[in-house]
C-alpha cells in the first residue's frame, strides 16, 4: 500500500496546490488560442473520472475508480502494465499519452443526470479535463455524453446498458465499450431455448423507465423469435422497494418463466421476493418454473445472496475468463486491491486504455482525431476476444457472456459461472435496427 501511495503522490506532486486552494489548480489555457477544448499544453494531460460515489451505486462507482487508477498507473509505466501487454495495438509506450503524464480528477455523479453534468462541467471548465469517462446508469451516461458533445470533449461511457446510448441518443463524441439490451437478448435467447425448451410462456416485470423498456423489448423479441410466448409485461415503479405485490400473481398467470428487467437495488429486491414466493420450487405447465435476470452485475448479485443460484443472465465480462487479457487484468487488479475486478471495473479500464491508444495512433488529443482513430477500430486482447468499434454508432461489438448463478460458490466473489460465450456474430445488428433508430451521430465537435 505504501508503494502505491508513493506513486500516487509522485504522480500528483507536479500539480499540487497547497494552501487555500481546495483542489488542483487549473491547467486551463486561454480558450481562444487553443485548437480544441482543453488542449493540454504542459507536460501532463488530465482525464476526468466521473463515477457515483454517493447513492445506491456507490460501490460500483468505487470499483470503477479503482480500475481507473490502475489504468492511469499502467499508462504512466508503473505497475505490471496489466492488459497493455496483451492489447493487440502496441501504440502505448508506458510513458503517459503522447509523452504527457496522465493525471486525473474525480467527481461524484450521485447517479443523477443533473449532478453528473455539474461534476463533468467542473472537470471541463475548472480542471481542464480532455476526456470524461464513467457512470453507472444509462440516464447519467446519456446526459454526460450530451454535455461532452456540446463542450467538445470525448466521452468514454462506463456502465450503461440501454440501447439508447448508442441508439437514438448517440453522439459523435461518445463511445461505448459496454454491451446493451439488444445484445443481452440476442445472447440469452438461444441459451434459454436450449436449457428450458422452446414452448415457454414468459411473464415480464419491468422497471418503468427507458432502460427497462428497451431491455424488455429486446428480450421479448429475442425469446419470441425462439418460440416463446409472452404472457404479460407488468411495469413496476422506479421507487418500489417491495415487489411482493408484483411477484405474487405470477404463479397463477399461466407463465412458467419470470423475466426480471430490473437493475441494481430493484433487481436485488425483486429477485429476493420471487425466490421467497417459492417460484423456483413450483411446476407450471408440467415444467419447472424458472427465473431470468437479463443483466447481471456481480456486485449487485452479492446483494441477492443465495437467491441467484441457478439463475441465468448476461454480463459484459467476468473475472473467471481464462484468456490472456482477462488473466492479466485480474492479476494486476487483484494484486493491487486484493479482490477480483467487477465488469464495471473491466469496462472502464478498457475504455481508458482504448482512449489513450487512440490518442497515440491519432497523434493528437483533438476529439475529432481521437474519434477517427476509434471509429472502425479492430482490436483484441482486452478480455472479450476480437472486438470492433463500429464507426456508425460508436458501439463496441464483441462476445457476450451468458452466466448462471453458481450452485456451490467457493468464495464470496465466486457467484457466477460462465455458461456460454456467445460469439460476436450472433449479437450484431444493423445500424438502422428499429430498436436503435431515431438518432443521429452528428459531427464531431472539437470545441473552441
Amino acid at each position: 500500500m505504501s508503494k502505491l501511495i508513493m506513486n500516487r503522490r509522485g504522480l500528483l506532486k507536479s500539480g499540487a496546490a497547497v494552501g487555500a486552494g481546495v483542489a488542483l489548480p487549473t491547467i486551463f489555457t486561454a480558450s481562444s488560442a487553443a485548437a480544441y477544448t482543453n488542449e493540454p499544453t504542459g507536460g501532463a494531460v488530465t482525464l476526468g473520472f466521473n463515477v457515483p460515489q454517493t447513492g445506491p451505486y456507490a460501490d460500483e462507482g468505487a470499483d470503477e475508480l479503482r480500475a481507473y487508477m490502475l489504468a492511469v498507473k499502467h499508462l504512466n509505466g508503473e505497475g505490471d502494465g496489466g492488459m497493455m501487454n496483451t492489447f493487440s495495438s502496441k501504440a502505448l509506450q508506458g510513458n503517459g499519452i503522447l509523452g504527457k503524464k496522465v493525471e486525473y480528477v474525480t467527481g461524484d455523479t450521485q447517479t443523477k443526470s443533473d449532478a453528473a453534468r455539474a461534476s463533468a462541467q467542473s472537470m471541463i471548465q475548472k480542471d481542464g479535463a480532455v476526456m470524461i469517462t464513467g457512470g453507472s446508469s444509462s440516464g447519467v451516461a446519456i446526459a454526460v455524453q450530451g454535455l461532452c458533445q456540446e463542450a467538445g470533449i470525448i466521452f468514454m461511457a462506463g456502465l450503461t446498458h440501454s440501447n439508447d446510448t448508442t441508439g437514438k441518443d448517440k453522439k459523435a463524441n461518445g463511445f461505448r465499450h459496454f454491451f446493451n439490451g439488444y445484445m443481452s437478448g440476442a445472447a440469452l435467447a438461444p441459451v434459454l431455448a436450449d436449457m428450458y425448451g422452446t414452448d415457454r410462456a414468459a411473464y415480464h416485470l419491468t422497471a418503468d423507465y427507458t432502460w427497462g423498456w428497451t431491455q424488455q423489448e429486446s428480450i421479448q423479441a429475442a425469446t419470441e423469435a425462439k418460440g416463446w410466448s409472452t404472457v404479460a409485461n407488468v411495469l413496476t415503479p422506479l421507487t418500489a422497494t417491495d415487489f411482493s405485490s408484483y411477484v405474487a400473481p405470477v404463479l397463477n398467470s399461466g407463465a412458467d418463466v419470470l423475466v426480471l428487467n430490473h437493475y441494481g437495488g430493484n433487481m436485488v429486491n425483486s429477485l429476493t421476493s420471487a425466490v421467497q414466493f417459492g417460484l423456483r420450487d413450483k411446476m407450471v405447465n408440467g415444467k419447472n418454473f424458472e427465473i431470468v435476470v437479463p443483466l447481471y452485475s456481480r456486485l449487485m448479485a452479492r446483494g441477492a445472496g443465495e437467491n441467484v443460484k441457478g439463475i441465468f443472465g448476461s454480463t459484459n465480462w467476468h473475472w473467471s475468463l481464462q484468456d490472456e487479457g482477462s488473466k492479466a487484468f485480474v492479476k494486476s487488479f487483484g494484486e493491487e486491491y486484493g479482490f477480483p475486478p467487477s465488469q464495471a471495473a473491466h469496462t472502464t479500464y478498457c475504455q481508458t486504455l482504448l482512449y489513450a491508444d487512440a490518442c497515440e495512433r491519432a497523434g493528437t488529443f483533438n476529439p475529432c482525431g481521437v474519434g477517427e482513430a476509434l471509429e472502425g477500430f479492430d482490436f483484441d486482447g482486452l478480455g472479450n476476444g476480437p472486438t470492433h468499434y463500429r464507426a456508425e454508432d460508436h458501439q463496441c461489438f464483441k462476445d457476450v457472456l451468458v452466466v448462471r448463478g453458481k450452485e456451490n460458490p467457493t468464495s464470496e466473489f465466486d457467484l457466477l459461472e460462465v455458461v456460454q460465450v456467445t460469439p460476436r456474430a450472433q449479437v450484431e445488428y444493423a445500424v438502422d435496427h428499429p430498436m436503435f433508430a431515431g438518432g443521429a451521430l452528428g459531427a464531431c465537435n472539437p470545441g473552441s
Binding site: 500528483l12 486561454a30 461524484d108 443526470s113 462541467q121 450530451g146 423507465y209 443521429a440
Partner: protein
C-alpha cells in the same frame, strides 16, 4: 440597530455578484458552471424564502416547479428558438400556473399537513416525469436538444452540430474574457452574467417584498394567522400569492438551469431537491435577505468542490509531512471528503441548526457582535 440601509446593501450585493469570478478564484469555485449554479440556486432559495421565511409554510414540493421550469424552457429551445428570452418567460409562466394549482389545493391545510401535501405532489410529478410522461420529459435520460428539433424561429444551423443557447447572439457558454490575475486564470462568460443580473433583480424584488405591506402581511401570517383573520385580512390569497411567487422564482431558476445547460432531468423534481432548498434557506438564515443566497452557495460549493477531493488530492496536501503522518491524516480526513461529503454536510447542517438557529447570517451577526462588544469592553477598560 440597522447596519446599513437597503440601497447600500443592494449596491454592495450587486458589486459582489458581478465580481464573483474574481472573488471566488482563490476558493477553486470560479469556473462558469459552478458560479452559474450559485446564482441559480440563489434565485431558487430567495424565492423559497419568500414563502418559507415569511409565512412559515414549509413546502417540500418546490422541486416540482424547478423541474417544470426546466422542461418548459428546453421545449422552447426545441420548438421555437435558442434565444433564452422566450424560454425563460415560458418557464416562469408554466411554473406559476403549476404552483397556482398545487398551492390552491395544498394551502387548504397548514402545518405538517401542508408539508406532506406538497411532498406528495412533488413525488407524483417526479414519478410521472420519470416514467409515464416520457414522451414529454424523455424520462430517465432527461429532455435534451436533438439535431432534428424543428426550432421554427431559428434558421438552419450548422449541419451535425447543436446550436447554443444565446441572448440575441451572445452565446451563454462563451467565455468573453479570460485574463490571468494574481496567478489565477479567470473566466468571464455571458451565461454567468445573465444569471448574475437575474440574481440581482431577484434580490431586489425580494427586498421590495420584504419591505412592502404585502410582506408585512406574510410575516403576520407566520406569527399569528388567527389574529390576522380577525383583523379583516383574508389570509388564503396572501399565502397563495406567496406560494405562486416562490413557485415562479423556482421556475425561473429551473429555466436558467436549462438555459445554461440545455437538459431537463426528472431528478430535478424529486423531493430531496425540494429538501435541499430548505437546507439552503435554513443554513443561510431563514427570513433574512442575504441568508438564502449564502446557504445556496455553501451547499453547492460542498457538492461540487468537496466531493472532488479524493485521496490523491489529500496526499498532495499533506505531501510535505512525513509519510506516516501523511497516511494517518489522509485516513482521518478521507471519510469526510470526496465520497463522504454527504456525511460532512449532514453533520455541519446539524451543528448549524443546533447552535445557530438563525443560520449563517445569525452566526455572522454574533461574531460581529462579539467583536464590537469586545471593542467596547476594551474601550471601557482603557477609559477606566
Amino acid at each position: 440597530m440597522k447596519l446599513m440601509n437597503d440601497r447600500t446593501l443592494l449596491i454592495i450585493f450587486a458589486a459582489f455578484v458581478l465580481a464573483a469570478p474574481l472573488i471566488f478564484a482563490p476558493t477553486g469555485a470560479a469556473y462558469p458552471d459552478l458560479l452559474q449554479r450559485f446564482a441559480i440556486y440563489g434565485i431558487f432559495a430567495i424565492g423559497f424564502n419568500i414563502l418559507f421565511g415569511l409565512t412559515g409554510y414549509l413546502s417540500f414540493g418546490h422541486a416540482a416547479f424547478l423541474g417544470v421550469g426546466s422542461y418548459a424552457s428546453v421545449w422552447m429551445f426545441k420548438l421555437l428558438t435558442m434565444n433564452i428570452i422566450p424560454a425563460l418567460i415560458l418557464a416562469v409562466v408554466m411554473a406559476g400556473l403549476f404552483s397556482l394549482i398545487i398551492g390552491y389545493v395544498s394551502l387548504r391545510r397548514s402545518g405538517i399537513y401542508f408539508s406532506i401535501l406538497t411532498l406528495a405532489f412533488a413525488q407524483m410529478s417526479y414519478n410521472l416525469a420519470y416514467s409515464v410522461l416520457t414522451p414529454l420529459t424523455n424520462g430517465e435520460t432527461g429532455l435534451q436538444l436533438r439535431l432534428d428539433d424543428p426550432r421554427y424561429l431559428d434558421g438552419a444551423s450548422v449541419e451535425g452540430t447543436l446550436p447554443s443557447t444565446n441572448l440575441f447572439g451572445l452565446e451563454m457558454k462563451e467565455v468573453f474574457w479570460n485574463p490571468n490575475i494574481l496567478g489565477y486564470d479567470l473566466q468571464f462568460n455571458y451565461g454567468y452574467y445573465v444569471c448574475a443580473v437575474l440574481l440581482i433583480a431577484s434580490f431586489y424584488i425580494a427586498m421590495r417584498i420584504f419591505r412592502s405591506p404585502f410582506g408585512l402581511m406574510l410575516r403576520a401570517v407566520k406569527t399569528n394567522q388567527n389574529r390576522l383573520r380577525y383583523t379583516g385580512i383574508n389570509t388564503r390569497p396572501y399565502t397563495l400569492t406567496a406560494f405562486v411567487i416562490s413557485g415562479m422564482f423556482a421556475g425561473l431558476a429551473g429555466g436558467l438551469l436549462a438555459t445554461m445547460d440545455p437538459l431537463a432531468g426528472a431528478e430535478r423534481m424529486q423531493w430531496t431537491v425540494g429538501g435541499e432548498v430548505v437546507l439552503m434557506v435554513v443554513l443561510g438564515g431563514m427570513g433574512t435577505l442575504i441568508g438564502p443566497i449564502l446557504g445556496a452557495v455553501f451547499i453547492k460549493y460542498f457538492e461540487n468542490i468537496f466531493s472532488k477531493i479524493n485521496e490523491g488530492v489529500l496526499h498532495s496536501w499533506f505531501a510535505i509531512m512525513p509519510e506516516w503522518l501523511d497516511n494517518t491524516l489522509v485516513a482521518i480526513v478521507s471519510p469526510f471528503v470526496g465520497k463522504g461529503w454527504h456525511l460532512t454536510l449532514g453533520a455541519l447542517f446539524m451543528i448549524v441548526v443546533i447552535f445557530l438557529p438563525g443560520g449563517l447570517v445569525d452566526g455572522a451577526k454574533r461574531i460581529g457582535g462579539w467583536i464590537t462588544g469586545a471593542n467596547r469592553r476594551k474601550a471601557k477598560a482603557e477609559a477606566e
